[in-house]
Symmetry: C2
Subunit: 458 residues, 2 copies
């Protein structure tokens, strides 16, 4: 299918003369009526000529074109289809086989301590299907038996947690739960762009990003049950059960807000094995590494733990040779997913520019889109509901006139923070970092319609 997906994806082929020059100008008029007139006229000229022949050829005309010849009907309009499911689990269409998560060849030395990127360029709305959720493992993934899994809660000393506890999955799932939509982004997402390496597609630049409805028990409730002394216990260590011994510090302020969840559910069902089944920590707004998978232990202490993944990794190298630590919060960011790198505009005319925006500090307030490399901006439409620490889908009408274009999006969150340009980001942080790149992304549309990833600021 010719819809945007994967490196070989391409944008849709329009009828000839899809859009006149006069029509192109109309799209810049504001207001829905102007847009509808613009789109209608654009289609009318071309559509009227192809409507009947196309319908007849496909045998899809059953109305005013007379009785269709039964022999011309496709098989699915004549025959008996497949039966309802009696077992198993539904799968996507065979025609969508190219929509997959993909690792980046050579990015990591092993495929167990590696990444598989979500195909953002092929996704709609804000929910990431769990079968396409990005993967990031430190020592491979496991399908852990939930009947044997335990979650322990203890203190760094006995005054901090009065009643250390161990929960079975069944005990956890019996407790009051919440369900919330949140994005999860790896701190290293868009990491290769620091070195001016223009990774070809949106999947590889921004695909360590997903969004789900998570269900689980607020961690605060479990800490209350264990009798935490919150005057002493100001930090929590989350520990995973896989061989990577992943441990991360979470400040108690986040937990006291009630936002941190010990989650077992994702998009209506149990977590997937590659994303921590049966239990993971959900820390909204914070980088993915803190969302500890296969969560087996929560320790409450009086200071940050300085774990290996907080000292050796996930730190920000600064221009002077120092590094910043505990910069776990994902700042406001956005990316245009269509048109994006690797796609091809097969004809000039109307397109709906669309993409995703998010902020670890709350809701997205505004997204501006430029098609001229940031010289001028127009406000995009934000799809509702706009939720806190969740992806927000934006879109903007655009008529491509066939000339080169530089497409960008720039998000602003409810705190007023504005997503920086590469120039602004590098002025503060240099170019030797790996993590926490939230700069404006630029896609270049060539005269041949090919879309490429380009770095504007050297």
């Amino acid at each position: 299918m010719n819809r945007p997906s994967g490196p070989s994806g391409r944008l849709i082929k329009a009828p000839e003369h899809f859009l006149s020059e006069a029509g192109i100008r109309d799209v810049f008029k504001d207001g829905a009526q102007g847009r509808r007139d613009f789109i209608r006229r654009a289609f009318t000229a071309a559509g009227a000529a192809v409507a009947m022949p196309a319908a007849m050829a496909q045998g899809t005309s059953a109305g005013d074109a007379g009785d269709p010849d039964i022999l011309n009907l496709p098989e699915h309009s004549r025959g008996l289809g497949r039966a309802v499911a009696t077992d198993g689990y539904g799968k996507p269409s065979q025609f969508e086989a190219n929509v997959q998560r993909r690792p980046s060849p050579g990015l990591t030395q092993t495929s167990q301590a590696s990444v598989s990127f979500a195909p953002l360029q092929s996704l709609f709305g804000i929910v990431t299907p769990s079968g396409l959720h990005f993967e990031r493992h430190h020592q491979g993934w496991w399908d852990v038996d939930p009947s044997k899994h335990r979650l322990m809660i203890n203190g760094s000393d006995e005054r901090i947690v009065r009643t250390p506890m161990v929960f079975t999955m069944d005990e956890l799932m019996r407790l009051p739960s919440v369900s919330r939509f949140h994005f999860i982004e790896c701190g290293a997402n868009t990491g290769m762009e620091w070195g001016n390496v223009a990774v070809p597609t949106c999947q590889y630049t921004h695909g360590m990003l997903s969004c789900s409805e998570f269900t689980g028990v607020p961690l605060k409730l479990l800490l209350d049950m264990a009798g935490v002394d919150y005057t002493r216990g100001r930090f929590v260590l989350g520990e995973g059960a896989d061989g990577s011994s992943m441990t991360r510090t979470v400040p108690m302020e986040l937990i006291e807000r009630g936002e941190v969840i010990v989650a077992y559910g994702q998009n209506g069902e149990m977590l997937r094995p590659e994303n921590g089944y049966p239990l993971r920590l959900v820390v909204p707004g914070v980088q993915g590494v803190s969302w500890v998978k296969y969560l087996r232990r929560i320790e409450v202490g009086d200071q940050p733990y300085g774990a290996k993944d907080e000292t050796l990794h996930y730190v920000d190298l600064m221009p002077g040779g120092l590094h910043r630590q505990y910069t776990s919060l994902q700042e406001c960011k956005s990316v245009v997913t269509t048109p994006s790198g690797g796609q091809v505009l097969l004809d000039r005319g109307f397109y709906s520019i669309t993409g995703l925006a998010w902020s670890g500090r709350g809701k997205v307030r505004q997204v501006d889109v430029s098609v001229d490399g940031g010289r001028s901006w127009r406000g995009a439409r934000l799809e509702t509901p706009v939720l806190s620490k969740c992806l927000t889908r934006f879109s903007l009408d655009w008529a491509w006139d066939g000339r080169p274009a530089l497409i960008q999006s720039r998000a602003t969150d409810e705190t007023g923070y504005v997503q920086p340009s590469y120039r602004q980001l590098r002025a503060v942080r240099g170019s030797r970092s790996i993590y926490h790149n939230n700069a404006v992304q630029t896609w270049q549309v060539g005269e041949n319609g090919e879309v490429r990833n380009v770095q504007l600021a050297a």
Copy 2:
């Protein structure tokens, strides 16, 4: 895994002495602090005794219990796990194999004109995973080639639609789109209950219900492009491309609100084949049969079409022998999904009663829950965001004292409409109907903890 799922599902086994009689009384105190104290005390008595042994046995204690013996660690805490995905599409855990959609044996004569029910008792939040979305086919399902699929828009006469059009999928996907969360419910959902047949589980009583984020083009935009005369064109016929020749009338009022979508996306990816890939009509609030799958044609006319599925089927048989037609809107309804029929409460003590509520007229305003067959009610917590014509997840703390209980939920929508009891519904509609049963559902908890579907009103 012993979590609620499927007919063989059972509720979780709690530690012994999970809850004292004094603790049980506490749950009826209002306020979060009271609830937390109640839960903490309930766990403290039992938990302290089992915490350390359980942790040691599983090798999950790595904190204050000293260095664990490496030989006691489970394999997944020592070895190298599986690699990141290089192709394919992620699947649920092997331990979740019992969470499936299921047909009801003997319900239909063929498996192509049949139903497979969603496992509501195993789902969390509001999103239904597309692999578990209920199925309802009239002549089987197909995996239609999107490159050959067309959508035609025409009028019942040429004055109503000035420019009949045919769209390819590529052309449709180039247009402005919206993404919205909506429930879909078959008009026959809960149909067997009319005849006092107590279907055993929630999956079979209410499982023709699902909820997704749908993405597509507002139908109004397509009609605008085709130049519809809205003074003449007051009804639309949606026609599917499969062999069942499914056609349904949709009043223009719904379309003019901008809510009706020609959808290609579901939960972030393309529609699934069994749910209409590549194109289905989304008619929020209206019964599922109107959400025409494999949508190939929209005809605009000046009167309802009286199609076979509007005259022979999907009509409401009334007590006097007459039937009601065009009662397509799904009225406010709710169901408790846990505890529900087929599940077993293995011990007295704390449970979180949870379920789903929805209304075809807008948002759910309130859900009340009874554990004594409707003699007394308590207000449930509604999970946010509460969206229009979308599922709403509700929950309520409950301590089971070991005595028989009758669990019910009763939803009220934003119009003030209150979900009726069976007695109220039958007083108006008799007992010979199939469709549009939105009565309060009752689950009976026996002294042995077994949960059964019971009919209170004969």
